[in-house]
């Protein structure tokens, strides 16, 4: 469309539509009008069938018509009421059919939240410049003692305990209960962190709280809590609010989790993984049963016996006895019927395994266990190598 020049020296008559559309384009072309925060009082709030919200934002001397489309309105946690002091974000445009300029609102917050946010940004920048957010120590792989700083009555505590119970019941948990909301919450949270760190000495501390408004999360946006976090010896994992909430405490912590449950998950190994790892190791161990080794050794002995004369016969006999002693030990460990393979277990009268000829005296009786039954034998002679 062609650009219209409203201030041409001799304007020819233009249509209302041309004028209105031209104004609308002019307004929409100004970046600053498309990214506005405006504060005022809500009046004439209406919510017709369409689901869109219409209201006027006013102060003492002026009024601004506002619209919030249904798709955005549906996502709002709170519906504004007439008289509310709010701040709205959106872009300015013109509703051509009525020749009315209005703000198309995409975000609403209560008045004061803006200045809280400003303070948040300032504090964050200051602490960051000081180097307070530089900590990101690695998590202990096997935390034995896990500290939790949160309210004793909140859902966050239950979420964390359930998660730990399910994933990692090997741990011991120490709760440092504290208020997490209200005027003294910041001081109390900081104290709880420090006490827990010093008295219970956990390797890991979960600093958690359920979701809330920026005001509700104030303690977790305080300088005193940030400093307490950075002083702890324990590694700190924060899990404050919902996924979208980011607090000063999150920046100061070693690791930030989006929610309390996620903090507990990030901080601990998973029981099922532990079981799988143990099972894998166990089966690797089973494959290393020394029976295979013994069988190889016995085979070598057989070959040696065939090739050598009587000189070696004594030694091989003794070696064989030793191996059979080993086999007996293995049988106690492994249900494999070693005896089936034709080996025997030799025990002295007191039941001890005979592993060396010197263990027994000539004339002693020995118990020789074969696959089916026992032999009661008498020692004629012993020979040591």
């Amino acid at each position: 469309m062609q650009q219209m020049d409203l201030f041409a020296p001799e304007p020819k008559a233009i249509t209302v539509t041309e004028l209105t559309r031209g104004l609308r384009r002019a307004i929409e072309a100004v970046d600053v009008f498309q990214n506005l925060w405006v504060q005022g009082e809500v009046s004439n709030f209406s919510r017709p069938q369409s689901g869109h919200w219409y209201f006027t934002l006013k102060d003492r001397d002026a009024a601004l018509p506002c619209v919030m489309w249904r798709s955005t309105a549906e996502l709002q946690a709170q519906v504004p009421k007439n008289g509310d002091q709010i701040e709205v974000h959106g872009g300015l445009s013109i509703y051509e059919a009525q020749g009315r300029y209005q703000l198309y609102v995409d975000e609403i917050r209560s008045a004061g939240e803006g200045s809280l946010y400003q303070k948040f940004i300032e504090l964050k920048n200051r602490l960051e410049a000081e180097g307070l957010f530089a900590r990101s120590r690695s998590l202990p792989a096997w935390p034995q003692r896990i500290g939790i700083v949160t309210s004793a009555t909140g859902a966050a505590l239950q979420d964390v305990l359930h998660t730990l119970e399910r994933r990692y019941p090997l741990a011991e948990v120490v709760l440092a209960p504290t208020q997490v909301q209200g005027p003294s919450a910041a001081v109390l949270v900081a104290e709880a962190l420090t006490m827990l760190d010093q008295f219970a000495q956990p390797e890991l501390i979960l600093l958690v709280r359920g979701g809330g408004s920026l005001e509700d999360l104030a303690a977790f946006n305080s300088e005193i809590v940030a400093r307490a976090i950075v002083r702890t010896r324990a590694v700190v994992v924060s899990g404050v609010g919902h996924e979208t909430d980011v607090t000063i405490a999150d920046f100061a912590a070693d690791l930030r989790a989006p929610t309390p449950t996620a903090a507990a998950e990030l901080a601990t190994p998973d029981l099922q993984e532990l079981q799988a790892r143990l099972a894998a190791l166990h089966s690797r161990l089973q494959r290393q049963t020394p029976i295979a080794k013994i069988n190889r050794a016995l085979q070598q002995l057989d070959e040696l016996s065939l090739r050598s004369g009587r000189a070696l016969a004594q030694r091989t006999r003794w070696l064989r006895a030793t191996l059979q002693g080993h086999t007996a030990r293995l049988q106690a460990l492994s249900p494999l019927a070693v005896l089936e393979r034709g080996y025997a277990v030799v025990r002295a009268a007191d039941g001890t395994l005979v592993r060396q000829a010197s263990q027994v005296q000539p004339g002693a009786t020995l118990d020789v266990r074969v696959q089916r039954g026992h032999l009661n034998v008498e020692v004629k002679e012993t020979k040591d190598d």
Partner: protein, 74 residues
Amino acid sequence: MAKPKEISSLSYDKALEELESIVQQLEAEVGDLDAALALYERGQALSQHCSTLLEQAELRVQQLGSDGELTPLD
């Protein structure tokens, strides 16, 4: 290897760590049969210990009091 510790006193991670090392030694087939048997026996005991720990594990929860004392929490 350092002097072996009483298995029942080992934490899960220490027991698992030792079990891992034993399996590796056995797989490498170093040492004589006696040593292998001893390792195998200890490996079996460690494996049993670990699985008992996992089966019996129950999260213990305590609360820190204002005096720094720990008390059990239900």
